[in-house]
């Protein structure tokens, strides 16, 4: 668990982070979103003390981070950045072994861990262990960067725009892989992004920052339906709102009894894709895998963020 209490960073008279408090529970993903200069990266870097806080404190599993030597603290916390920052003069295996090496693991343990991680990231150890970073594709480099951050089994992983350098197709795949991996490992994850889409896709909670202030910290649904102010609303984008809300839920939650013609869709399909499918096929009902249907009406209701306040019933 990470507790951030009243964290402030001042450079001279300018405050880049102003009194931010938030809490990331064990095994959760928190996404820090904001425009550039919002202080999100500084906030992240204060967690592992790459930036020293001016005021406030960070507790990691209840332990005050300021009481631990910075380099020792950082060896306990995974860290992955945009453009991956792999060491160009070290092989993939040596890159991944960086932190275990610093922690003086035995060579046998390190070798086993490197191979285990390469497997986990779908890179064949025999083929990739001894390659140099420049011999990898962008997506492979990014995966090695995350593998390196996870090498010493950190409880907490910090990521700064880890997918920023990837093209959209690889990016979506990388996000899905990360989610799956995080569920498997139970790592507490704090990820910085400027992309609200990415924040909604990944975050259990999203922290919206602007000019050093934390404007809102809540679940994606909170943000979409009850934005704290105009800035949060503009970041979400009014045109995108209903679709983002729909993307949070799968059709399994809306399944009804019934029959419908046409090809079935998977129960894990999110509502946005289901709505798109309805519109594309020109139908009001879609059949689901394993029986049942989802109706256009139900999809419409789910996309209505202001339904309760306007008292409208279908």
């Amino acid at each position: 668990m990470i507790q951030i209490e009243n964290l402030t960073k001042r450079y001279g008279s300018t405050e880049v982070v102003r009194g931010v408090s938030l809490r990331v529970r064990q095994g959760e993903i928190a996404a820090l979103v904001g425009t550039s200069g919002s202080g999100k990266t500084t906030l992240l870097r204060m967690i592992n003390r790459l930036v020293e806080p001016t005021e406030g404190r960070v507790l990691i599993d209840g332990e005050d981070a300021s009481g631990i030597q910075p380099h020792l603290l950082r060896r306990r916390i995974g860290y992955a950045i945009q453009g991956h920052g792999l060491f160009p003069h070290r092989t993939v295996g040596q890159n991944i072994a960086t932190v275990p090496h610093l922690l003086n693991w035995s060579n046998r343990e390190i070798d086993a861990r490197v191979d285990e991680l390469l497997h986990l990231f779908q890179l064949d150890p025999a083929q990739f262990r001894d390659r140099m970073p420049h011999e990898l594709s962008g997506g492979q480099q990014q995966r090695v960067g995350v593998a390196r951050a996870l090498a010493a089994r950190p409880e907490v992983l910090l990521m700064d725009e880890p997918f920023g350098a990837l093209d959209p197709v690889i990016r979506a795949k990388a996000q899905a892989d990360l989610l799956e991996l995080q569920k498997k490992l139970g790592t507490t994850l704090v990820i910085v992004t400027h992309d609200m889409e990415e924040a909604i896709a990944l975050g259990d909670h999203i922290a919206v920052m602007d000019k050093g202030r934390l404007l809102q910290y809540g679940t994606p649904k909170d943000l979409l339906t009850q934005p704290a102010d105009d800035f949060v609303e503009s970041l979400i984008g009014s045109a995108e709102r209903p679709f983002r809300l729909l993307s949070l839920t799968t059709v399994a939650d809306l399944a009804e009894q019934g029959e419908a013609t046409g090809a079935t869709i998977a129960r894990t399909t999110n509502l946005r894709d289901a709505l798109a499918e309805c519109l594309w096929r020109g139908v009001d009902v879609l059949p689901l895998d394993g029986g049942g249907v989802v109706t256009l009406n139900a999809l419409r209701t789910s996309g209505r963020g202001l339904a309760e306040t306007q008292g409208e019933v279908n």
Partner: protein, 398 residues
């Protein structure tokens, strides 16, 4: 006036532009004296042409063959191997002619006569050599092949001189009388060049690292080093000789430690003086050139500042530092000649003796090995830099 390009033969003759330049130099050189014959060491002599050294048809046949070899080197449409062989054949042929002409001229004349290489010979050697190097560069040989070319060249040159075939050429006559002195000068020259480089690295590299860490020091320190670089070497000696002389006289331990107004000590200091800037600035450039996210990632994973420097930044800066080593080594091999002026030894000894005696051959005895040494050192370090840039592939894990 036919402009029908399709009727041209399929194999068109194309010329290599630099090759043409070299060939023109070489062809012109055929009509310039190849050696100068002097009844004794000091007097200016008479020029000897190929056609006068070899009478009648033989002379013109040799000229024709040499000309053909020049042209072959310039023809781009020929296979590179043929062009290289032509250039090397020309090179070797020229040396054979030099040895042969020198031996026969000396045999026919009184003791003390000299046969010195003249403009024609130098230009021919240069033209063939440049043609060979030009083709070699275009081949884009592998690293291993380039090492072998370098080693082969050194071995052949050593063999040619060791064989004694050129013993009657004036420069080698000067050598014959000074073998012990030459070997000592060679050793001193190496000490001067490598010693000053070593000291420059020991002092300059830490300064470069320090400047990288402390931003505020960069401008004053680099400014001072730049200023040092502009002091003429003669002026430097003018300042150093009295100062070091005084120190040696008046500071008790100084003389024992080697401090002296003349000799190898001020020479080393002078070379060091000019070596610091390249070492310091390249170290700094190399370190600042390391991608910032690499250092950032290293710190973020828990390396201490010293570890980031030693394990990440310095290894990545090394190719640029090696470039500085190349610059300094080649520069100092050349510059070490001035040590001869203040009794510091090295090949400069012969150069300044030769200047005093107006003996061109003696000057050459100091100059030619200096050039050869600089070329070999420069090429070796070029290859080392390339090796470091291209092959950090496999190193054992952790």
């Amino acid at each position: 006036m036919h402009s029908d390009t399709t009727s041209l033969p399929r194999r068109r003759i194309t010329l290599s532009p630099p090759g043409v330049v070299f060939a023109v130099i070489g062809l012109a050189a055929l009509f310039v004296p190849i050696v100068t014959f002097k009844p004794n060491r000091i007097v200016p002599g008479d020029g000897v042409w190929i056609t006068t050294a070899y009478d009648g048809v033989a002379g013109w046949l040799i000229v024709a063959i040499l000309a053909l070899l020049f042209l072959t080197g310039a023809l781009k449409s020929l296979p590179p191997a043929v062009r290289i062989v032509a250039a090397l054949a020309g090179l070797l042929g020229t040396i054979v002619i030099l040895g042969h002409v020198a031996t026969s001229l000396i045999a026919d004349s009184a003791r003390g006569a000299r046969v010195s290489p003249a403009a024609g010979l130098w230009c021919m050697l240069a033209a063939y050599l440049l043609a060979a190097v030009d083709v070699l560069n275009r081949l884009e040989l592998s690293l291993r092949a380039r090492w072998m070319v370098l080693a082969g060249t050194v071995i052949v040159v050593v063999l040619v001189f060791a064989s004694g075939y050129l013993a009657n050429v004036s420069v080698m006559m000067e050598y014959a009388g000074r073998q012990a002195g030459f070997n000592a000068a060679f050793r001193q020259h190496l000490v001067l060049a490598f010693g000053s480089l070593g000291i420059a690295l020991v002092i300059g590299f830490p300064i470069g690292v320090l400047l990288f860490q402390v931003n505020g020091l960069r401008r004053p320190v680099l400014g001072a080093l730049n200023l040092m670089q502009t002091v003429p070497s003669l002026a430097l000696f003018g300042i150093m000789i009295p100062i070091f002389g005084w120190i040696a006289m008046n500071v008790p331990m100084a003389a024992k430690l080697g401090v002296a107004g003349i000799g190898i000590f001020p020479a080393l200091v002078a070379l060091l003086f000019y070596s610091l800037l390249p070492v310091v600035s390249n170290t700094l450039v190399g370190l600042t050139g390391v991608a910032p996210e690499v250092g950032e990632a290293a710190r973020g994973m828990g390396m201490t500042n010293a570890q980031v420097l030693a394990r990440v930044q310095i290894p990545l800066a090394l190719p640029v530092v090696l470039t500085a080593i190349r610059i300094v080594l080649v520069q100092n091999i050349g510059l070490a000649v001035i040590a001869g002026l203040i009794g510091g030894g090295g090949f400069g000894t012969f150069v300044f003796q030769g200047l005093n005696q107006s003996a061109m051959d003696l000057i050459l005895l100091g100059t030619l090995p200096t050039i050869a040494l600089a070329l070999v050192a420069g090429t070796t370090l070029d290859l080392l830099v390339d090796a470091l840039n291209t092959s950090p592939r496999k190193r054992s894990a952790s």
